[in-house]
């Protein structure tokens, strides 16, 4: 039987009154059944539509009468566990076994530091996510070509037998290095069902008991910055956003908490509150006039994407030329800022000052005029910005993760950060390192996953390469770590709570071609809640419970001044045959003869009890039992100290507290990168530079491909979704419909009006979606909110507005990371049919 891919915007019945027969636990899932009357009611509501295997008829238990005036006793504390960087409290109102309303942390006092952790719109829409028609109902096995989403229903026993047999087969033929655990962050906020970090999940523990798996390093979020900042600072810490009350000026390069970390208990509230308290001047530098700019900026400086290093160089030129650089600071704390402070064995003219003032190997002075031609910021604006940065003491220079998610991202983010060093703002209140913000947090233990016996590790982004050419991949060509080269290709993929198998990886069409050949990667197991685009590529598809259907803890998200943990009690029984991932893995372990090693004799709740006991070692005020924890709901602690200041000890005493760089100082010139740059094998035109030089990105400002594809596509985080999570929720699609942001000048050039359907395309693919004509984006740049669910029609055109049909698999030079924002495209009015008649 072949499934139909859920259509964006497909009509669905909006409500019914389901009743679930209570199961008694994951062990007896086979005995769990739906109340027959409720089931028939759903079918009736579906009308003529077929019941989809793995899809659940539209049900949104909506009992307004029951919900209104609700008794507080009916609320169950829970959490939203997705990957936004925040972590919100939910309180589910439950009646007759069904959730009828979703509330948040809005009880009691709202005092800053222990303030209410109010969920964003997505958490508030959790009911429609849990009861979505795309929910997977039972295990399924692939019957057609991989990626066609042709499946048949299987029993849990049969599905787990298939997985266990294939695990033994692949291990026997290829060894453990052929197993790969794909990046997945759909449930990263959980403790017992954690999906990320990838070395901390139940599947990780299973695989470690089984002999290990091929590791990966870095993430789709932060590859370039996580790799390059340690070369500068020995780490990547930043001051807390609450600390801007001590600043005279705040400059945010692509930092956008209002759209990335939207929790009312998280950093967007922190920065709003601090701005309100001190009214410090805030400048936002971004290709988009972001919601953060709306909320806190005094000035927006639009910039062409991937050119931050050029703008930073232009600013640095003014700082050096006008004596605004803090020489005393640099001489004490930095390496490579000028010729007198270069590492030994490096030729003259290698300092950052030489590079900026035109005395380096390229002989080009990085004047504001030079920078302006590249980054699109007018010369007078660059000069004024530089003088503001150079004279505001202290100045907080901060960046988000957009500037680094480029093909030249490693140097963009390092160049921004070097401005903080040039102006002596590192390690002091009101200053910053130029990195993204830090904050306060409580320690909380995780689920122990044992040690991976396999040493080999690849960039998270090169798993498709590892399928195609694993044994060709080496340390110096592909950034393989732990071993000089891989021994075998990837043959078995675990994809748990992730959509990076297709949707959130790059170049969807090429990725689909690689995956569709099941002689290369022989087995893909997807553990999911929904029939996502990635789930369509499963060989074995296992239905997992949502976090509302199991007990768990949720450790806090990013905040400035508050530490917390959420005790999330099961609100409803698991839907259909879905199970907790821990229990699935235990039953697979049983088939492999390693159950006792995996479970240590504990049930899932017994592990939670053990973790809670371990947490109490550090936080004795925590509740002692699970029952008390479920009753408490959330435990909060206000930072007892001052706002976090990164590298303060180093600033106070650089000799006693050196940084974790080879010199112990801030390495504006990195000898380590110099060595790597001379050693690694790189494709034509790519460089790894010791200084944070501006390098034109592939598909950046100077690429000749611009003649054919003149628009640079970036992506932004959108309130409809967290990456792709929540991408199937009607309320959110209504509140924040998918669209592509286009400047009125670019729209006029193409005869486009707001709301027109447009086709965005390049040589890799095409997507169709409505256009939002808005002056809130730089001319020449367009932005598609990332994460929309890929919905292929005829000829491979996507009708879901999924940006990754357009992005490239070519990794950045050093981090081997995703260049998601350096993508050249063109845009035309869509003259073809809709998804329905095109496919």
């Amino acid at each position: 039987m072949k499934t139909t891919h859920p259509q964006p915007g497909a009509s669905r019945p909006s409500r019914s009154a389901p009743a679930y027969a209570a199961g008694t636990g994951p062990e007896d899932c086979a005995a769990r059944s739906l109340n027959r009357r409720a089931f028939l009611k759903w079918c009736a509501l579906l009308g003529g539509a077929a019941m989809l295997p793995g899809g659940l008829a539209g049900l949104c238990p909506a009992v307004a009468e029951a919900a209104s005036g609700g008794d507080r006793q009916d609320f169950v504390w829970s959490s939203c566990n997705v990957n936004c960087g925040s972590r919100c409290v939910l309180r589910a109102m439950v009646r007759d076994g069904a959730m009828v309303r979703m509330d948040t942390d809005n009880l009691g006092a709202d005092d800053y530091g222990t303030h209410q952790i109010r969920a964003c719109l997505r958490g508030r829409a959790m009911r429609q996510r849990v009861y979505a028609p795309e929910r997977l109902k039972y295990p399924m096995l692939r019957t057609g070509k991989r990626g066609e989403a042709a499946f048949r229903r299987a029993s849990w026993d049969e599905a787990l037998d298939v997985i266990a047999a294939k695990m033994k087969d692949v291990r026997e033929r290829y060894g453990n290095e052929a197993f790969y655990l794909n990046y997945g962050t759909g449930n990263l906020g959980s403790v017992m069902s954690k999906s990320w970090p990838t070395d901390q999940t139940p599947i990780t523990r299973l695989m470690n008991c089984f002999g290990g798996y091929l590791n990966h390093y870095n993430t789709y979020s932060t590859a370039q910055i996580a790799t390059s900042m340690p070369y500068l600072y020995g780490g990547g810490l930043g001051n807390a956003l609450s600390d801007i009350v001590n600043s005279k000026l705040v400059v945010l390069f692509g930092n956008n908490p209002a759209e990335t970390r939207m929790s009312g208990g998280g950093v967007v509230y922190d920065i709003q509150r601090a701005k309100r308290e001190s009214n410090v001047r805030v400048i936002v530098i971004d290709p988009r006039y972001t919601d953060t700019a709306v909320a806190v900026a005094d000035e927006w400086i639009p910039i062409r994407p991937a050119t931050d290093a050029a703008l930073a160089a232009g600013i640095a030129h003014v700082l050096f030329a006008e004596g605004l650089a803090d020489r005393a600071f640099m001489d004490t704390y930095c390496v490579g800022h000028d010729e007198a402070h270069l590492p030994e064995g490096v030729p003259a003219g290698s300092s950052y000052e030489a590079y900026i003032m035109g005395k380096g190997p390229d002989g080009v002075a990085k004047t504001p005029g030079w920078a302006s031609a590249i980054c699109g910021v007018p010369v007078d604006t660059i000069v004024r910005l530089a003088r503001e940065i150079g004279t505001a003491k202290p100045c907080c220079i901060s960046q988000g993760w957009g500037p680094q998610r480029h093909h030249n991202g490693e140097n963009n983010c390092r160049a921004i950060a070097v401005l903080a060093a040039l102006t002596g703002n590192v390690g002091i209140p009101g200053g910053n390192t130029g990195a993204r913000e830090g904050g306060y947090s409580l320690p909380f233990p995780g689920f122990p996953t044992l040690k991976n016996p396999v040493a080999a590790s690849i960039s998270f982004f090169l798993w498709t390469d590892a399928i195609v050419r694993g044994p060709e991949m080496t340390a110096e060509r592909d950034g393989v770590r732990g071993v000089p080269r891989l021994n075998v290709p990837v043959k078995f993929i675990w994809n748990y709570a992730g959509n990076a198998l297709i949707n959130q990886h790059s170049d969807i069409n090429r990725t689909a071609r690689i995956l569709s050949d099941d002689t290369m990667c022989e087995m893909i197991v997807v553990v999911e809640n929904f029939m996502t685009p990635s789930a369509r590529f499963a060989d074995v598809l296992l239905p997992a419970v949502t976090n509302l259907e199991e007990n768990d803890f949720a450790h806090q998200g990013s905040t400035a001044e508050m530490g917390y943990v959420v005790f999330a009690q099961k609100a409803i029984e698991p839907l259909f045959e879905s199970r907790s991932v821990y229990d699935m893995c235990a039953d697979i372990a049983g088939r492999l003869g390693i159950r006792d090693q995996y479970t240590e004799g504990r049930t899932r709740d017994e592990w939670l009890q053990k973790i809670l006991a371990a947490a109490r070692q550090k936080l004795p005020d925590l509740p002692a039992t699970l029952e008390e924890a479920w009753k408490l709901g959330v435990y909060k602690v206000r930072n007892p100290g001052k706002p976090f200041v990164a590298y303060k000890a180093f600033r106070d005493d650089p000799v006693a507290n050196p940084l974790a760089t080879p010199s112990g100082r801030i390495e504006i010139f990195s000898k380590r990168l110099w060595d790597i740059g001379h050693k690694w094998e790189l494709p034509e035109g790519e460089r790894i530079t010791a200084l944070p030089e501006y390098d034109e990105a592939t598909e950046g400002q100077g690429d000749p491909l611009r003649k054919k594809y003149p628009l640079q596509l970036v992506t932004h985080h959108y309130k409809q979704r967290t990456h792709s999570t929540y991408g199937n929720v009607p309320w959110l699609k209504e509140a924040a419909p998918q669209n592509v942001w286009v400047n009125p000048l670019d729209a006029a050039d193409r005869g486009l009006a707001h709301g027109d359907m447009v086709r965005v395309f390049n040589d890799r693919g095409a997507t169709v979606l409505p256009v939002k004509v808005t002056p809130r984006i730089m001319p020449g740049t367009i932005s598609i909110p990332q994460g929309a669910w890929y919905a292929p029609g005829a000829g491979g055109t996507d009708f879901g507005g999924s940006a990754n049909i357009l992005t490239s698999l070519r990794p950045s030079p050093l981090a081997k990371g995703n260049p998601q924002h350096t993508t050249l495209v063109e845009l035309t009015r869509h003259s073809g049919g809709s998804h329905a008649n095109a496919s």
Partner: protein, 207 residues
């Protein structure tokens, strides 16, 4: 807070990020169908780009307004209802009597905020009732309790008047004289005055 004699909304546009948690909290509590939006968030965006010899220049601005029914002192929806279904109670809360409403939509057309919303499923008008059940129990309306930025607040109309003066509005809202809404707006730094057309409704499909 005890039930006010006459509840009013207080919206600080300086703090609003346009996140729509208020809208979804309302839709969840009231189980609203697609297209039925008791609380709507308008994006007001204006400004222009020009190409110059030195590069692009712009004067772009943007701000958000979160607006539901404002439970006006002169509720034109009540006046225009031919069946007396639309009515105002002793607390100033404007509601639809489902037994009387015939779904003619006159109220929605007459309301300068478009607050009453027609439900295809019910065949009648629906609207914000200021979360009467919540505020009678001493709790804030769910939209207010939901606001991550604490931009949306509520209070007693007379008490707020004493503190803030008369209710005020910004573009593209109608002048307060039209219906005397129980809504106090604190203007965003870029807010345009009532009547200005410089700020466009930039998200018509969302409101």
């Amino acid at each position: 807070m005890p039930m006010p004699a006459r509840p009013a909304f207080l919206f600080d546009s300086r703090l609003c990020t346009g996140c729509k948690a208020c809208m979804i909290a309302c839709k969840d509590k009231n189980d609203l169908d697609p297209g039925v939006r008791w609380r709507r968030v308008t994006e007001c965006t204006g400004g222009e780009w020009t190409r110059t010899a030195e590069g692009y220049r712009q004067n772009v601005f943007s701000y958000y307004l979160s607006v539901s029914c404002n439970h006006c002192e002169d509720p034109i929806c009540v006046q225009s209802c031919p069946t007396t279904a639309m009515h105002q109670d002793g607390n100033g809360i404007v509601s639809v009597d489902p037994k009387k409403c015939v779904g003619c939509k006159y109220c929605s057309w007459s309301c300068p905020y478009g607050a009453p919303q027609y439900s295809e499923r019910l065949g009648r008008m629906t609207k914000c009732d200021f979360c009467r059940d919540e505020i009678e129990a001493g709790r804030p309306p769910v939209c207010v309790a939901a606001c991550p930025s604490r931009a949306l607040q509520w209070g007693d109309l007379e008490a707020l008047r004493g503190k803030l003066g008369q209710p005020m509005a910004v573009a593209p809202l109608p002048p307060v004289s039209a219906t005397r809404p129980a809504l106090f707006v604190t203007p965003h730094r870029d807010a345009r005055p009532v009547g200005s057309t410089a700020g466009l409704k930039a998200n018509p499909e969302e409101v």
